[in-house]
Amino acid sequence: MADVIMPQMGESIFEGTITKWLKKPGDKIERDEPLFEISTDKVDAEIPSPSAGVLKEIKVNEGQTVPIQTVVAVIDADGAGASAGAPASAPAPAPAKTEAPAQASAPPRTEAPAKPAPSPAPSAPRAAAPSATPAPPRPNGQKIRSSPLVRRIARENNVDLSQIPGTGAGGRISKHDIRAAIEGGGASRSSSGLSAAGAAPARAASAPPPAAGGAAASAVLETAVPREKMYFGHYEVQPMSVMRQRIAEHMVLSKRVSPHVYSVDEVNVSGIAALRSKLKDKFEQSSGTKLTFMPFFVRAAVEGLRAFPTVNSSVDGTNIVLHKECNIGIAVALDWGLIVPVIKNAEEKNFLGIARALNDLAERARAKKLKPEEVAESTFSITNPGVFGGLFGLPVINQPNVAILGLGTIEKRPVVVDDAIAIRSMVYLTLSYDHRVVDGAVAHQFMGKVKHTLENWTESIL
């Protein structure tokens, strides 16, 4: 017998969701044969079987999220009694653990920030302004909405707002809600932390159509308008995949943390285009990999990063972490989302090495075969909206980078050359950068270096 466990897919990853079982109990399986698919905060991946034998039991069903190291299945290594025993011992894996889904959908326990303790001694003159204290989240992770008046009444009556259901717009706790709770004895005293008997007065907060489950899932993802304003006419509600949620959270955080500034440059890539069309076939024959434009841009970006190291950094409080490696994240669009595999040590690779790495990572990203370490530790990123025809894009910085390069579509445009109008292959490059550490002067010098490298290409590509 061999246990199959939920693997740890990256250092900071503590749980994973099983998205699909590729074998059924009773199926024979080879060692390293794909057994199930998982989705974690960082990566979606296929997990190979740790040993050969017969899949005896599935312990965690599709859609469930479990901590790492949890046993998710058992493989009978002899394979012997399996065919006979399996149907009897594990007849229906599905309804086995009914409590698990509930647990899985429960949002992560927020480490409760210190309650706005009512300070009975108003001696300290520095404004202890309790109303300025951010409202603690509800136990289910939702932000508590109230009003200055409600917070004052809560403070004066020593009431824990997280225990009071709100009936105002967007679930806001109104004056009436808190008065009703206090008069009805339903409000729990925040000092005791215990809910009084018969807690939470049953006040069916006129819930909008779908349960609040989706909205409650993420503290980072707030709704911009009251939820009930979203549901009208005909609609369908789709839960976000784990990957979608992580992308959404990451984008919100990046925009919140980094003051984005954008620069646009126009680059003449006629030389590169000519080189590529001349050597395309030869390159593929000799190297076995396709010649795209992307490695040119990666090489040029590396030149820029070496010349302007602050663009290749991260921000830690008041420290700037200057990375010595140029690890280039490449945004790869997937049918089910987006992932950013990383070309490690791009500064040490020649053109062919970068081209191979690019094609390999992109292929494996689409086949869900990336390893967790291959989507981590980028120091700079490149995204290519041009591949879908975008003239140029203003991308969001991929944290913890401080800049991201966006490639527009390459197309022939009339340009002025020596006071004549000529046709050239042109591309718009955009740089989104974090103005906390990268100033416009540096950003434009960096872009100048990238542009110069691309327009005066000298490196042999074969």
């Binding site: 009003s147 200055p148 008046l149 717009a169 004056k175």
Partner: protein
């Protein structure tokens, strides 16, 4: 006693005060022989003679300048602007001389500057002004903007007796539209005191002048929906009745301010700041406002209707606030 219009209340106040005190004089464009553009001063010349009822040349600067001089010499002038819009012409006299004289030299200017104000009568951009906020920012002035015949009479009499320069705005939409029985005996209404026009518990609608009537109409609509609005008539804008405002906010915990003046820099902003400073922790919702749009008053009747607040707009804002 028969019901009288607001215009008649104002007329009575002028007559009574000129009767009572020989120092009270009246001056303005066409107020004598013609009796005033709106006939507020009809009969005044015949009654008190050309020494005390002065037809002035068409120069608001000269009129207010003369009134300042009269004040220094012990008279109590009542100045009429033919339309209040023209007060802009004597802005310097009002803000730099009348408002500051007492502070600078101990020489008070006991002047009342009154005139027909406000929109809703298709008067267009030069005859519909609500100029209160140009002057709210000027220490040394008092500003009154009544909504009823009773108040107009009582407050004008108080204004004449006040030793400070008082701007007395008369909403011309109300001149002959509202009627009210008033006491036969003499009375005054104190400056600086708001009035509760309707008691309520769910939210406070704070207003003045013609918008008090709009707010009352909205409150009746809201009452049918179960929203109990309190309506407060400020009556005096400067000085604001801080106590009345805060008392009502502390009672209902929600405040909607309605004014006919345009939005940006309107009095709602000042009141909102006052309430946030003094009663932030009594608020159960954001302070809301319904005002005219930030444009000149349109001449076109449909455009003017769109421009001005009305009961429906007030009720909509109040519903949102009640729900908050």
């Amino acid at each position: 006693m028969a019901a009288i219009t607001m215009l008649e209340g104002i007329r009575q106040a002028i007559f009574e005060e000129m009767d009572r005190d020989p120092a009270v004089v009246a001056l303005g464009e066409d107020i004598g022989v013609y009796g005033g553009a709106f006939k507020v001063t009809e009969g005044l010349l015949a009654r008190f003679g050309p020494e005390r009822v002065i037809d002035a040349p068409i120069s608001e600067t000269a009129i207010v300048g003369a009134a300042c001089g009269m004040g220094y010499l012990g008279l109590r002038p009542i100045v009429e602007m033919q339309f209040i819009d023209f007060i802009a012409c004597c802005f310097n006299q009002v803000t730099n001389f009348a408002a500051k004289s007492h502070y600078r030299w101990g020489a008070p200017v006991p002047m009342v500057l009154r005139g027909p104000s406000g929109g809703g009568v298709h008067g267009g951009p030069f005859h519909s002004a609500n100029p209160e906020m140009y002057f709210m920012h000027t220490p040394g002035l008092k500003i009154i903007y009544p909504s009823t015949a009773y108040d107009a009479k009582g407050l004008l009499k108080s204004a004449v007796r006040d030793n400070n320069p008082v701007l007395f705005f008369e909403h011309k939409y109300l001149y002959r539209r509202i009627k009210e029985e008033i006491p036969a005996e003499e009375y005054t209404v104190p400056i600086g005191k708001a009035a509760v026009r309707r008691e309520g518990k769910d939210l406070t609608i704070l207003s003045y002048a013609a918008m008090v009537h709009t707010s009352m109409e909205a409150a009746e609509m809201l009452a049918k929906e179960g929203i109990d609005a309190e309506v407060i008539d400020l009556r005096t804008l400067l000085p604001l009745d801080r106590d009345a405002i805060l008392a009502s906010v502390k009672k209902t915990n929600k405040l909607l301010i309605v004014h006919e003046d345009t939005r940006t820099g309107g009095i709602a902003g000042e009141i909102a700041a006052l309430v946030c400073e003094a009663a932030f922790e009594d608020l159960d919702g954001p302070i809301a406002r319904v005002t005219s749009l930030d444009t000149p008053v349109p001449y076109s009747p449909p455009l003017e209707e769109r421009f001005l607040p009305n009961a429906e707009k007030v009720a909509t804002a109040a519903r949102d606030l009640a729900k908050y």
